[in-house]
């Protein structure tokens, strides 16, 4: 499968990465090179195989549940400390609602 330029632009938009017009051809070539290489997985017979979703080796106890209680919070200053723009106890962003 080969990505056309429209798909490359769509993927960049989904990823929220600005793509300049002059970059499209290069990125298209790189992505198609990698996707072409990945394509070999289609040759593997995976009928009836359960997908491995996490990193925990099989046979090791599953992730535990914890009680649904508040464990942290009330740290607005720490949360906002690295904000590029803040207004009071809020992150500042360009106007969203017209």
């Amino acid at each position: 499968m080969s990505l056309d330029t429209a798909t490359v632009r769509r993927v960049a938009a989904l990823a929220r990465i600005r793509l300049e017009e002059e970059e499209v051809a290069r990125v298209q070539g790189e992505l198609n090179g990698i996707l072409g290489w990945i394509e070999q997985l289609q040759a593997v017979n995976t009928d009836g195989v359960e997908p491995m979703a996490g990193g925990t080796p099989e046979g090791i106890a599953a992730m535990p549940m914890r009680e649904d209680v508040v464990t942290d919070g009330g740290q607005a200053e720490a949360v906002l400390a690295n904000a590029p723009d803040r207004e009071g106890e809020y992150f500042g962003v360009p106007k969203v609602v017209e």
Binding site: V8, R16, R18, L31, V44, P51, P57, A61, V93, K95
Partner: protein, 495 residues
């Protein structure tokens, strides 16, 4: 002896005996960092003042009879671990100016045990790379050089290249790294030191900048296998803040380094014999097997039939998880923001992420976004998760026949800056021997075992059963004893 020549275990003993103070030990390493970092670029952030203050506090603690297992030991921290009050960059422009208000679990445990932090070590951006060349803070030089071409700047490997170079060059007694596809084991091999990626879940991932959450694991570097074992004991253990961290006891790994390998069955996977592997690596592998046979182990041929699909599987799973994890870098809550006067929110996101992420990171986010997108999820991502299950199953079947597996650590010795950069896939092939352990969640140790004809170090890899790092350390230490690896890099403290 110059204090930078101690092993970590030797330095612990010297501190206990009062032969040296942490202040003296730390000062020697701070001076080594000051002298060598301009050339090696192994550290992004150097915290000499904090290190000296911590060393003084450590000496006082020891005086009070209150010394931890790593009391007063100066180490380097990969700049992927959040450190409270100390800039953490992940070697990316997008985290510019980010000062974590909290400490990662692994680094807080090292501090609890008395370790002194010299600074934050350089890495590939977001740990994505095998050369350290994707760092926004510039590449790291490998302290080793080719015998016949000493002026060619070699890469230290990656992604934990700064950590490996710092330990090899005697700028630190040990270091932390992270390993998602080989990012501890490959740089350890390239720099002639030891490094282990433990079992998935052995170390908490809390406070480590996330790359691919089902593959990422923290682990240590040391100049000896025992040094790695000592550091790992402090780093490991259950953490309620990481639901994938394993709630099981942490053994005394250093003790396991002295275990005999007699009677152990060591697997040799036939699929790891690759066309084009340099003869010296084949030879070293055979030599490693001979050493273990001489030490009383039994060598067993095994098959891991899905090995050749491991890298393409990884390059679906890892970018998919990365595209999700890296969605948080939006220019709103922390780090870089790039916007024009009239930017709306979406334009702010897109400009920030285009300017803040380097080329390799952008490439992987886009691959990940594509393989997760509607209509392609089953064909790529789900398929990769199924092949991953088959790779894990291959190992599970092997554990019926063997106790550990021996392979080369890397398909080559350290390469020069500029080599392997024309095609991303060529760079990805560096992880061909290491990536399977990440996909299956298994522990893997790289141990320096010999030199190539150019005088560059080569490593062997020991892979073990889940949570059986002890056998991995025993086998690694046996190889280390037999190899008696004493070569040193040309660029090092005191040289």
């Amino acid at each position: 002896m110059h204090p930078t020549e101690f092993t970590l275990a030797g330095a612990v003993a010297a501190l206990e005996e009062g032969v040296i103070s942490s202040e003296e030990l730390t000062r020697a390493h701070v001076e080594a960092v000051e002298a060598l970092n301009p050339r090696l670029n192994a550290f992004i952030t150097v915290t000499s003042e904090q290190a000296m203050a911590a060393a003084k506090a450590s000496d006082a603690k020891r005086q009070r009879g209150d010394a931890g297992p790593l009391e007063g030991i100066p180490i380097a921290i990969k700049d992927l671990f959040c450190t409270e009050g100390v800039q953490t960059t992940a070697a990316s422009k997008i985290l510019g100016g980010f000062i974590p208000p909290y400490e990662s679990t692994v680094t807080s445990r090292l501090k609890r045990d008395g370790a002194v932090f010299l600074g934050k070590a350089n890495l590939d951006e977001f740990a994505m790379g095998s050369s350290n060349l994707t760092s926004a803070y510039g590449g790291v030089a490998n302290p080793w050089s080719r015998r016949n071409d000493p002026d060619v700047r070699l890469v230290p490997g990656g992604s934990s290249g700064g950590s490996a170079a710092a330990v090899a060059a005697r700028m630190a007694l040990g270091a932390t790294g992270t390993d998602t596809g080989g990012s501890i084991r490959q740089p350890a091999a390239f720099c002639g030191i030891a490094g282990i990626k433990p079992t998935y879940g052995r170390c908490s991932r809390f406070g480590i900048v996330a790359f691919a959450s089902s593959l990422d694991q923290a682990g240590p570097f040391g100049r000896t296998v025992e040094d790695c074992a000592i550091l790992l004991r402090s780093m490991a253990g259950h953490d309620p803040k990481d639901s994938t961290s394993a709630d099981r006891p942490v053994p005394d790994f250093a003790k396991a380094c002295g275990r005999s390998v007699k009677g152990l069955r060591i697997g040799v996977p036939k699929e790891y014999r690759l066309d084009g592997t340099p003869p010296e690596i084949e030879k070293l592998w055979r030599q490693g097997l001979d050493w273990l046979r001489e030490a009383g182990a039994e060598i067993v041929d095994i098959s891991l039939p899905h090995t050749k699909y491991a890298l393409p599987t990884y390059y679906i799973v890892a970018p998919a998880e990365a595209s999700s994890n890296l969605a948080r870098y939006d220019g709103v809550r922390f780090g870089l923001r790039v916007a024009e006067q009239n930017s709306d929110l979406r334009d702010l996101y897109e400009r920030t992420r285009a300017a803040g992420f380097g080329q390799e990171v952008r490439r992987r986010i886009m691959i990940g976004t594509y393989v997760l997108s509607a209509g392609y999820y089953d064909a790529y991502y789900l398929k990769a998760q199924k092949v991953r299950a088959l790779i894990a199953r291959d190992f599970r079947e092997a554990w019926g026949k063997v106790d550990a597996i021996l392979t080369p650590a890397t398909p080559s010795a350290a390469f020069a800056e500029g080599e392997n950069t024309d095609d991303p896939i060529k760079m990805y092939l560096n992880d061909v021997f290491t990536v399977t352990a990440n996909l299956a969640g298994l522990p893997g140790l790289s141990v320096p075992a010999g030199l190539d004809p150019q005088g560059l170090p080569l490593g062997l890899q020991v892979i073990g059963r889940p949570f059986d790092e002890e056998t991995v350390f025993a086998v690694g230490a046996a190889i280390e004893r037999a190899a008696d690896f004493r070569a040193v890099p040309s660029m090092r403290a005191g040289a």
